[in-house]
Homo-oligomer: 362 residues x 2
């Protein structure tokens, strides 16, 4: 474990991307999305993923200088083709367009196809907060979630993020996969040698899986089974609701823009070389004054969030959280103390640096 | 148990509402929403609830001839004041306005305050299907859900409904409370003398509650405890996600229009008489051609829904459902065979009929 200042990591990621042909300003945008994930404590979606983006750029299924095209447009909506570029860059541009449309016409919704993994959904929804707007962001992803009563992964972990500004309180930032837990959590249990709780994953027969190694092998090998939707295995525990939410995200992120959907095993050409995966995203920005005086709304937000935080606690618990609070506290901590990197991640980054002839700042 | 043709029940509900001062066309609309709930198998929100609406109309907190006012309006949004009328009537009008705006400007979102219980969320989202649009509907409600790590109900069961048209397949209609189960389910367990599974409800200490009678007493008496959000008790099982979704619904349905939020114990005047509860709803309609050729989209919907239904099943399961399928099959069955009414419900309806001097059709 090593701790590195956020800015050093950001500069490193930027130089790596530039070296792989990404224009400087675009590299800065993508690196910022990555480092914000680390700052927020979502380590699985931060600098640890740089390796995968480097791979994509080198193998050609992520384009360093992609052209983003508008396929369809109205005053309040648009559909973009991301040109198989970096998902983060396309997503920032798409959310900027949604915000611009909302600024001009109260609402802005933008669907995007032909893009790549976009990192944390919360980055884009939070862009709306600076404008005092409500932000929405979703994406589909490689299949992972097994539908209720199924035995095979058919939907991505399909996250939803919704960000809403308050007045003096911190904003509400929901950023959730529609599975009970992300794959990363199964991997942690595998490393710790722990067996999985019920409701997280199923084996290839569709039954509760306890062995994390087998789940990981099944998921990555597309051998059946996979993650359970939020709500777990049965209708009794609400699993069909999480399955429904994952399906909503698939519809909005992939079917509306015309991206690849379900069975999203990354495609390859005749010689087995990976092709652009044609992932889809969906973004929204909504002006509060389209519905109500924003000052009144924000005062009510403060009051609602405080009521929740001040409400009676479960025996043994000291705090009720608002969504996004833990992450914002982590940002404050890590901005001061730096970002802790696992040895495995440090090794990966050093490999990337050596390969590209860059001196890493750690 | 007695089975009554849907149309007889609809006519009965209509006559009851007219007798209580509701204009004929409005009474027809409200009765249709009620009976559609029964047809879909959501008995808790059908004719069994007529008793409560009768009570509201008699006690004056539901206004039979409410004036619906537009408080704020843009080409793509509006905020309405429902004038404390019947929630079903206001909601049909609000969704009609959302659809009209979408027809003219691609998107339509309408927030509503000062309204009453609106029945099933799915009725309004499904109105968009007839226009080939995506429909959205949410409402807040009397507090029931306990936030993660909390011990007191702070949010309604806050349902979300999203309806999306397909081509030859039946449409996707998600209609879900953001709690693991609705209160009605706890009441069923109470009648059967069964103890509750984990993840459904907590007691006044915020711990898993097993005794349904105690949960019901606590919820209706506002004595602490209540229903758990989708995902259950702990963050490990994803309870904070269901809590986040309930909060999103509270923000959209109540804070955007300026309705009453959280701690929504129905208000009373100085003499203890109930006042209008100022519930809030939120509706949306989205034109598919704002994003993509609707025919292509609908073909993809068919393909996605078929892929899900045809995917491998869990051992012992024969079918994977799409959201709304069970309800649509129930409609077909009950349109033919009639709507079964519990003896308790028949007694209630006969009491209402006698009280108003109406001859019931059963």
């Amino acid at each position: 474990m090593r701790t590195v200042p956020a800015n050093d990591l950001l500069e490193f990621a930027k130089v790596v991307l530039i070296r792989l042909g990404v224009p400087e300003e675009d590299a800065r945008i993508v690196s910022d999305v990555l480092i914000q994930a680390d700052l927020r404590g979502i380590d699985s979606h931060g600098i640890a993923r740089l390796r995968r983006y480097v791979k994509g750029l080198k193998e050609g299924y992520i384009k360093p200088e992609a052209e983003i095209k508008i396929i369809r447009e109205t005053p309040v909506t648009a559909t973009l083709d991301g040109g198989a570029g970096l998902g983060q860059l396309i997503s920032v541009k798409a959310m900027e367009l949604a915000i611009k449309k909302a600024r001009e016409n109260f609402l802005g919704f933008v669907a995007v196809r032909n893009t790549n993994h976009f990192g944390i959904a919360g980055y884009y929804s939070m862009m709306a907060l600076k404008e005092g707007m409500i932000g929405i962001s979703t994406t589909n992803s490689e299949v992972c979630i097994v539908p209720t009563f199924g035995a095979r992964a058919m939907l991505g972990t399909n996250p939803i993020s919704i960000a809403v500004p308050a007045l003096k309180e911190r904003p509400f930032v929901l950023d959730m996969a529609t599975s009970t837990v992300p794959v990363g959590k199964i991997e942690v249990y595998d490393r710790l040698g722990k067996s999985l709780p019920e409701g997280w994953a199923v084996d290839e027969y569709g039954e509760n899986a306890r062995d994390p190694a087998r789940v990981i092998e099944n998921v990555y090998g597309h051998k059946g089974g996979g993650l359970l939707p939020l709500g777990g295995l049965e209708e009794e525990s609400g699993g069909h609701k999480g399955y429904g939410l994952a399906l909503v995200v698939e519809i909005f992120s992939a079917l509306l823009p015309g991206a690849l959907y379900s069975e999203l095993v990354y495609p390859v050409d005749e010689e087995g070389r990976p092709l652009p995966p044609n992932i889809g995203h969906f973004f929204g920005a909504m002006r509060i004054d389209a519905f109500r005086d924003p000052e009144e709304f924000r005062k009510d937000m403060d009051d609602l969030l405080r009521r929740l935080k001040n409400s009676p606690k479960r025996r043994g618990k000291e705090r009720i959280y608002i969504h996004g609070e833990k992450e914002m506290e982590m940002v404050r901590l890590r901005e001061k103390e730096g970002i802790p990197l696992l040895d495995r991640v440090v090794r990966d980054l050093k490999d990337i640096a050596r390969d590209l002839g860059i001196v890493p700042p750690f």
